[in-house]
Symmetry: D2
Subunit: 139 residues, 4 copies
């Protein structure tokens, strides 16, 4: 990625995304990507369940989506985020079926730290979890 | 779990822990558990890798460990935490080999919200990630 | 406030707001309030400065604005938030003059925990800080 | 502060601390400072009250203490923290009298981001609030 690239095409972004074995295991796909907003889709799989009584996805899986979607929201607009410095997640409702859609947006691009936020919704469009990452840039 | 149970034996706690399919997939084990502190061990597996260049675990997997270990720290001392309200994680160093040890401690037991904190270390004992969950109790 | 009140008029909300001595000291005013969004205005005062070299407001003052504005965003739409459970703030740019405007929106109303987010901007409209509170409701 | 300074004497640290008008207004004092841990004391004052019914301090004031104490915990051990990138605070109990003591400890010194955590206690030693800041270093 060059510094002048201000957008990346979804197919190229998905290729980058799926280089990560954990992303491939989660079978993540880029649903849409613009400089303003990225949507990443995750199908359901039984291994991600936390509470088998209600069949709800593990909070850590939702946290994973929020972490990576924020980073790719930055990538999609040409900000090279190297790593997540910290992550904060609010859990709003149990996620009990898929696909889950994670929608990420950049809050602020900084010289050293950039911030992006992500909302995770279920098949019915209801908000399941949301949060933010602070990502290390530059340096 | 009854309200009067102030400690749970590790074998019983591990049985509860592994009812969650995601915990079983991560092959989590209770390494130690007292009312003061719980240690949960996670072996390495290739699917958790995020960056294949350096072979580092996904931040979401470390977030998963911090989420669940805090909840089990509460369970281990007899506080019935029903769900994670929110989670905050600081990533300190890449985790590049296992087993990872997550050590959880209760910060505050509240009537509605309890808080626990967890530190994740690698085989060399170095701190890789740390953070906190706020857990919904009672109600 | 009764349970059926779904909106509160700005003058009434400002009266409630300024019952708090710290809010009165900060000379906070309700700039606008609807069920969707609340704006609170804070004039500049020299005592809030942290770094006298650049004349920037203390991060804790911005955190204060984010904390209280989220709570009043909930109040403004009829959700009785009793206390802040936890607060998370990202600092984007130094705040060096006023008035500061804090704009709050509800993310999710829950039975036990509600979440609201707030953005603080300066006189030029630039984003200075943003963040979220999780507020204890009900119970 | 030179890079080789690994500790700063409390009187010098307090002088630095009180250069900030907001710290002077809060009448903060260094109670103790070592490379491992710093204690900052804040007397009570009526203007910091949020809820006049119970006479409790505003959460934003506790957040202020957590923000600055973490930064000074880093300073006290010779890590030059330039600014707070983000702050997270858990509120455990109302703070209804002073002095309040904020005890800060470094979690991790990083090349770009350092993390410190702080606990705020009241005159009876009970934990009132606790949290973490991520501070921008270097660069």
């Amino acid at each position: 990625m060059t510094d002048t690239a201000k957008e990346i095409d979804p197919a190229r972004l998905e290729q980058m995304l799926r280089i990560a074995p954990f992303h491939a295991w989660l079978d993540l796909r880029i649903k849409s990507a613009t400089a303003d907003r990225i949507e990443i889709e995750m199908p359901w799989r039984e291994e991600i369940i936390s509470n088998p009584m209600i069949g709800s996805a593990h909070g850590g899986v939702l946290a994973t989506l929020i972490d990576l979607t924020g980073l790719y929201a930055l990538n999609a607009q040409g900000t090279q985020a190297k790593a997540t410095a910290d992550l904060r997640v609010d859990f709003h409702r149990p996620a009990t079926s898929g696909p889950l859609i994670a929608t990420g947006q950049v809050v602020k691009v900084g010289r050293q730290i950039s911030v992006a936020e992500t909302r995770v919704t279920g098949p019915d469009g209801k908000l399941l979890a949301s949060g933010r990452g602070a990502y290390v840039c530059g340096g």
